[in-house]
């Protein structure tokens, strides 16, 4: 199974993922045993992308109502003929961009949520509006819980979550692997479903990694020898292959340690078992009560003399 046909690959993965979503017991069992190898993700191969943007159109068509996405008009486009987002935004969950190094060297790149394995946005959300499903690895957002504090935006190293700045009832917008739309209906994300060249593959992380490694092995001259997302910030379920340096494509160079691990370690050290705050309160109470005994109520004039100001 070195190079399966695209259709066969997709159908197989789709069937597998639907089974995964449906049989909870099985899924949680393998999820635990295999260290999350069955988590769902996508592999975007920049060298196969032709920039047709069918994924963008598909994403907005499928998720428009659920995610309150609207079409973004270009300044010259009075009739609203095209959807022309300039960047990921409160109306756009995924975006194709073209990076030109020279007239002959260029690459497309697709942006959408990386579905980190240790997501910062989930770690910082104060009310659990951002959640990560331990079985599927999907990082999901609930507008019914979100208070709109935008801490997820501050925390995300990829600047993925976007906010609807011009709305009185704004939401955070980001890819949820079509969890409530296409994935629930068809078992595949809308962007992967419509991609005509196989640049976007949807499937289990382990399978996607195997595919990526096989491609690197087959055409070492074509690709940079790096699977972006394999180790970045603790690994992501959205993986990338490309022929150009990833930081040029707008995918930042990041350390292997998840930032959320660092911050949680400190926060947990301070608040472990709530012992420190209680101990602090107890000690301070003891000190304050002892001090008050030295200054019985009403002896205010005595305070001034007794204490002296020269101390």
């Amino acid at each position: 199974m070195a190079q399966p046909t695209r259709r066969g690959f997709l159908v197989g993965l789709a069937a597998g993922s639907v089974a995964l979503l449906n049989s909870e017991a099985l899924a949680s069992a393998i999820g635990e045993v295999e260290g999350g190898q069955n988590e769902l993700g996508m592999l975007y191969d920049a060298s196969k992308c032709v920039g047709c943007k069918a994924c963008m159109a598909g994403c907005k068509r499928v998720n428009g109502d659920y995610g309150s996405l609207s079409y973004e008009r270009a300044p010259f486009d009075q009739d609203g003929l095209w959807d022309a987002p300039a960047d990921l935004s409160g109306s756009t969950r995924t975006l194709i961009k073209l990076f030109k190094q020279s007239d002959s060297e260029w690459s497309y790149v697709k942006y959408s949520c990386m579905h980190c394995r240790k997501p910062s946005c989930v770690s910082v959300c104060p009310v659990s509006a951002m959640t990560r499903d331990p079985r599927t690895g999907i990082v999901d957002y609930s507008k019914d819980t979100c208070i709109g504090c935008r801490y997820c935006q501050v925390a995300c190293a990829f600047n993925i979550p976007r906010f609807q700045w011009d709305s009185a009832t704004p939401q955070i917008v980001k890819c949820d692997l079509c969890l409530h739309t296409n994935l629930a209906k068809k078992g595949i994300t809308a962007c992967a479903e419509v991609c005509p060249t196989g640049a976007i593959l949807f499937g289990k992380r382990a399978d996607l990694l195997a595919t990526a490694r096989a491609r690197l092995a087959e055409q070492p001259g074509l690709y940079l020898n790096h699977i972006y997302g394999e180790n970045e910030v603790g690994g992501t379920n959205h993986l990338y292959l490309a022929a150009m340096p990833f930081d040029r494509l707008g995918l930042p160079q990041l350390p292997g340690n998840p930032p959320a691990e660092f911050s949680e370690k400190i926060q947990h050290t301070i608040y472990k078992g709530f012992v420190a705050p209680v101990a602090l309160y107890g000690t301070l109470c003891w000190l304050a009560l002892r001090n008050l005994k030295k200054h019985p109520d009403g002896s205010h004039a005595g305070d001034e003399k007794g204490d002296g100001h020269e101390s």
Binding site: D87, L88, S89, S123, V124, C125, P126, V127, S128, A129, K143, T145, C146, I147, G148, C149, Y151, Q153, V154, A155, N159, P161, R162, F163, Q164, W165, D166, A168, T169, P170, Q171, P252, L254, P255, P259, A260, F262, S263, E264, I266, Q267, I270, P277, L280, L284, C285, L287, A288, L289, N291, L292, H295, D297, G298, S299, H300, D303, E304, D307, H309
Partner: protein
């Protein structure tokens, strides 16, 4: 801890300053209304790269530090047992109350979906990994604690309300509501009786509330630093460190003491009361030691992380870092001299420098040292500024009105008549 330490400031409420502050407040609140109708983007320059602007950086992160006067004074009085500072505590608590209350108000303006804030009270939604969760709960709890701490001022006022003003109130209420004066009188007397009943009982447990009021800021002021721990890829290495919680905690203590000096000098000047030079000199002795500890942690941590070289890059970031250090360090140097500590002018200058430097540190962490990547820019819009200014104006307005209604400012012992008569005090001559 006698309630005799405090008195009402007898003066007119409707001064020219009152109307200026009122105007600024109204402009600010108009823009707040606009934000709720048209969205945050309509009034602010925040973006997906800079999702936190000056509302979070100033109103919340810096405003609560400036409101740490009550915290710092409570440590001094109740924990370090310096009871002679007790007369200064009530005005410190009042400013803390406004600082925190309005930080809470700003948060409600800043967050996009405030109607979902009830989730903070639903345990299944709690997310204990989030520093924001800790900050939110602690700030709400502390604002309540401050309200209770301030309650004695209100209760004393209710008890001591004289017959004449009560009668005036009854007459006014009668005209407005049409309720018979006798029934109103009975109700007001009942309120007074309740106040006299509640105050001694509150006094008994107040110390436990006060200590809670010391514990909570210790927790959330450090967590305000923890908020930026996650931004390891965005915050400049001069500021991103595991010691952020500790640095924010120490930072709020020296800002707290310095702001007490500023407030005391300003209100003595503004309300034409004698300066509390002796108490201020005492406070000023503490401040430089706190800042020295802070500076030691800052530089020790930079050395330990091997980032000292970043200071000598002399770029944009190094510039703001050096400015912050110069303000805090310079202000502290002034206060090391005992002569300067007895001068109201030097006290004011050094306290102002330290507050500015301490506040700049928080701006550096939240905004100036924060770089989300190429292509993102942020400078607050005029409307964004005006909302913050409106909120500050409202804060000062309420303070000025309340000290004239409730016994908040330190009692002037035997100096009342002299102070009332002498409308042009000479500040520097007072203790020279």
């Amino acid at each position: 801890m006698s309630h005799d330490d405090f008195q009402r400031h007898e003066a007119s409420i409707f001064t020219p300053a009152f109307f200026v502050l009122l105007l600024l407040t109204l402009i600010g609140f108009f823009l707040v209304a606009l934000r709720f109708i048209k969205g945050i983007g309509a009034v602010s320059n925040m973006s997906d790269g800079y999702p936190w602007g000056i509302w979070i950086t100033y109103d919340v992160a810096t405003g609560t530090a400036i409101a740490c006067g009550g915290y710092a004074m409570a440590i001094l009085v109740y924990i370090r047992n310096q009871m002679h500072y007790h007369p200064m505590i009530r005005s410190a608590i009042l400013t803390s109350l406004f600082g925190y209350g309005l930080a809470g108000f700003s948060v409600m303006v800043d967050v996009g979906r405030p109607w979902n804030a009830y989730n903070f009270f639903i345990p299944s939604k709690w997310q204990i990994n989030s520093a924001m969760f800790e900050v939110a709960l602690c700030v709400m709890a502390y604002t309540t604690v401050l309200l209770i701490e301030f309650l004695p001022a209100l209760l004393t006022r209710l008890e001591e309300a004289d017959r004449k003003s009560v009668h005036r109130l009854v007459e006014w209420l009668h005209c407005k509501t049409g309720v018979a004066p006798n029934r109103l009188m009975t109700r007001l007397e009942w309120v007074q009786a309740m106040a006299s009943w509640l105050r001694p009982r509150l006094d008994k447990v107040l110390i436990f509330i006060i200590v809670l009021g010391i514990t909570l800021p210790t927790m959330h002021q450090s967590s305000l630093g923890s908020l930026l721990l996650i931004a390891s890829t965005k915050l400049h290495p001069l500021w991103h460190t595991g010691f952020l919680p500790l640095l924010f905690l120490i930072n709020c203590v020296y800002i707290g003491y310095s702001i007490c000096i500023l407030e005391s000098v300003l209100s003595s000047y503004g309300f034409k009361r004698p300066y509390e030079t002796k108490e201020l000199a005492g406070l000023a002795t503490i401040i430089p030691w706190v800042t020295v500890i802070w500076l030691t942690v800052v530089f020790g941590d930079l050395a330990w992380r091997g980032q000292l070289g970043k200071i000598f890059a002399f770029d944009f970031y190094a510039g703001f870092f050096l400015l912050e250090i110069a303000l805090v360090g310079g202000g502290s140097l002034i206060l090391f001299s005992a002569k300067n500590r007895r001068s109201v002018r030097w006290l004011f200058v050094s306290a102002a420098l330290i507050v500015l430097g301490g506040a700049l540190y928080r701006f550096n962490v939240y905004l100036i040292g924060f770089n989300p990547g190429e292509g993102w820019r942020y400078f607050p819009s005029l409307a964004e500024f005006m909302i913050t200014i409106g909120i500050i104006a409202f804060e000062i307005l309420c303070y000025k009105v309340l000290v004239k209604i409730l016994p908040v400012l330190p009692r002037l012992h035997g100096r009342d008549h002299q102070a009332q008569a002498d409308r042009t005090p000479c500040p520097l001559a007072e203790h020279a």
